[in-house]
Amino acid sequence: MALNLSSSLLLRRTQPITEDEFRKLRDFIYEKCGIWIDEKRKYLLENRFGSRLKELGLSTFSDYISLLSHGQNKEKELATLYELVTTNETSLFRDTKQLDGFMANVLAPLIVEQKQKNKLELNIWSAGCSSGEEPYTLAIMLHEHMGPEIKRWRVSITAIDISPAMIAKCKEGVYSDYAFKTTPEAIKKKYFVPAPGGLKVHPSAAGVINFQVMNLNDVAALKRIPKSHVVFCRNVIIYFDEAMKKKAIAAFYDNLLPGGVLMLGHSETLHNISSAFKPKFIAGAVAYQKM
């Protein structure tokens, strides 16, 4: 079967990036968000940013790098850069099994313990919250678990993301059908109201969350986050190199209260990164407890 329909199509669709430009852009990205783009991913980077160059009408990667470093709209472009280097695939109640395991084996005992101590206080940090699905899910789960009693508690979920665009989306709290694929129907009815573009989180559930633009690379800023009982950081550190992983995990460690728990994504591990946590195998998940 010889076809030869199209044999002259060009595979290259973007500006080529030079070695020097690649190194500069790679280092810039690493410095700004701690994500290390390996040499192997050079063409991938060229590909993703090549389309951005076209949109901006720039002819070389050097032009783009100078725009990022000293352009008038560099802050705005930085936000686009974050979008390009991170994936924001997530949904409400993503990984239900892990969440259920967390609820039953970590949060429920913690609530009992706090009550016994007569400290009706609960702090959760959602690090790398993307478009907000995770903190909203946690807020809803807490409401479900505690019922009206939650009003007597001081519950706070601090949700941070590097991308201003994502945090804006978080604050808006509107999700399309796709985000609800694993959300129980009853929850959907109870906590969401119709809004243009989908369903909006009910303010009663949203009230406990404090959204902030923050970089996991910015150690000073991270110190402002209230000390937490639980840190959620799922599917974030997998994008980091080892140095940056260690840095982020150290920040979580510093932030956690004694005995506090770190929850990672399924394919992430503290193996070779930190021995300051004790992995606890709970139904559906691994919880890393601060020792």
């Binding site: 010889a2 030869n4 199209s6 044999s7 669709r13 394919s267």
Partner: protein
């Protein structure tokens, strides 16, 4: 609608706007068809380009190109071999589109709707050694296959002896009889004996069948949206065929050895699917979400890759080292004891990935080692012929597995 240079214009195209002379006289009205004599006329009048309606074929090619380009995100777009493979892959996809195929949506490609929650996985507790050693049953995987191969390769073997070997494996017997009785062979009489079935299907095909059979159970825990057995085997067979063609092109006398290595190049992945279905699914989702080759995603997710698993596995299976090296180094040919031989499997894998796009394979093409390609000394223009040869052989070989 698109703009076409006059030098590329062919009769039969329909113009999407009036073709006029410099002073505005209409030569061919919008909607008119270009006739052969128009070509000289237009050129004579100094018309450089014109607007034409896209034909069905143009649209298919455009759609195919936009779809296929994504799979080449990870490789050097300026390398001539990649250019050739890209064009071939586009042709195949365009052909399928013309036959009514719809390309998978972006959500499907990025595996957005896969919920994968069967078990807890912690990378802390796994290592390639453990995985390879874990399952005793696994060591029987190639047993029938290797006994069969040994028997097949020996001139003294009778069909009776082969039938005896086959009958040790019930599922193989069932599959064999089913295949022999399929319309493919168009026989009037039902085939009820293993001997007759072997005689009909062919001795060589029998061993491939045995190999394919053993893999079915390996996919139980894997969501089919991520990979199914058919796609996996298609890729394995494709790699085998490419390896054989490349080996023959290079004048290798034992081209069959490369076929086997190609067929088994992802054996480590099979074990991962079986032993760590949950983690494997995580890796596959990670690859799809981030447009990464699966081998990269494995490294990020497990801290090792399928070739490190096959390294231990093949040692357990007592594979001849020369064959194991080809398999274990298909992503790192230059580090193999015999880089040129490993390069054959490496290139075959890349080619199989590229041509698999039209068959629905969803992972981006893994890194292509340009040095390994140079080692083969095949000119880039040779890729066209290799792909065409492949197309012919693929149909014949795949039938055996269907």
């Amino acid at each position: 609608m698109s703009t076409i240079q006059i030098s590329e214009l062919k009769p039969g195209k329909v113009v999407a706007a009036n073709v006029t002379t410099a002073d505005g006289r209409v030569l061919l009205a919008k909607g008119g068809k270009v006739e052969p004599w128009h070509l000289n006329l237009f050129q004579g009048l100094g018309i450089k380009s014109l607007e034409v309606e896209d034909s069905q074929e143009d649209r298919c090619i455009q759609e195919a190109a936009d779809y296929v380009v994504d799979f080449f995100a990870y490789v050097n777009p300026d390398h001539p071999v990649m250019g050739e493979l890209y064009n071939f892959a586009v042709d195949l996809v365009a052909l399928r589109l013309g036959q009514g195929w719809t390309v998978p949506s972006l959500a499907e490609r990025r595996a957005k709707n896969v919920e994968n929650l069967s078990d807890v996985f912690s990378p802390d507790i796994v290592s390639p050694e453990k995985i390879a050693k874990h399952d005793v049953e696994l060591s029987s995987f190639p047993e029938v296959y290797f006994k069969l191969r040994e028997a097949i390769d020996s001139p003294a073997t009778s069909v009776g002896r082969l039938a005896e070997l086959v009958s040790q494996d019930m599922s193989l017997v069932a599959k064999l009889l089913k295949l022999a009785n399929s319309p493919l062979y168009g026989l009037d009489q039902p085939i009820e004996s293993i001997q007759r079935a072997i005689a009909i299907i062919g001795v060589k095909e029998l061993s491939i069948l045995a190999l394919g059979m053993s893999a079915i159970n390996y996919f139980k825990g894997i969501p089919p949206e991520l990979i199914d057995m058919k796609t996996f085997w298609r890729h394995s067979i494709s790699c085998g065929i490419f390896a054989k063609i490349l080996a023959k092109t290079l004048g290798e006398s034992h081209a069959e050895r490369f076929f086997i290595a190609g067929l088994l190049h992802d054996a480590g992945r099979l074990i991962l699917f079986k032993e760590m279905p949950y983690a494997s699914s995580e890796a596959m989702i990670f690859a799809r979400e981030n447009v990464l080759p699966l081998v990269e995603a494995e490294q990020a997710t497990f801290g090792f890759t399928h070739t490190m698993v096959s390294e231990h596995l093949l040692r357990e299976w007592k594979f001849p080292p020369a064959l194991s090296d080809l398999i274990n180094h298909h992503h790192s040919p230059m580090a193999a004891p015999n880089p040129r031989d490993a390069a054959i499997i490496h290139v075959a894998d890349v080619m199989a990935n590229a041509l698999g796009i039209a068959a629905g394979q969803m992972y981006v093409i893994p890194p292509f080692d340009e040095q390994a390609w140079d080692l083969l000394g095949i000119p880039a223009q040779g890729v066209q012929r290799i792909c065409s040869d492949y197309e012919i052989q693929e149909e014949n070989t795949l039938e055996v597995f269907s």
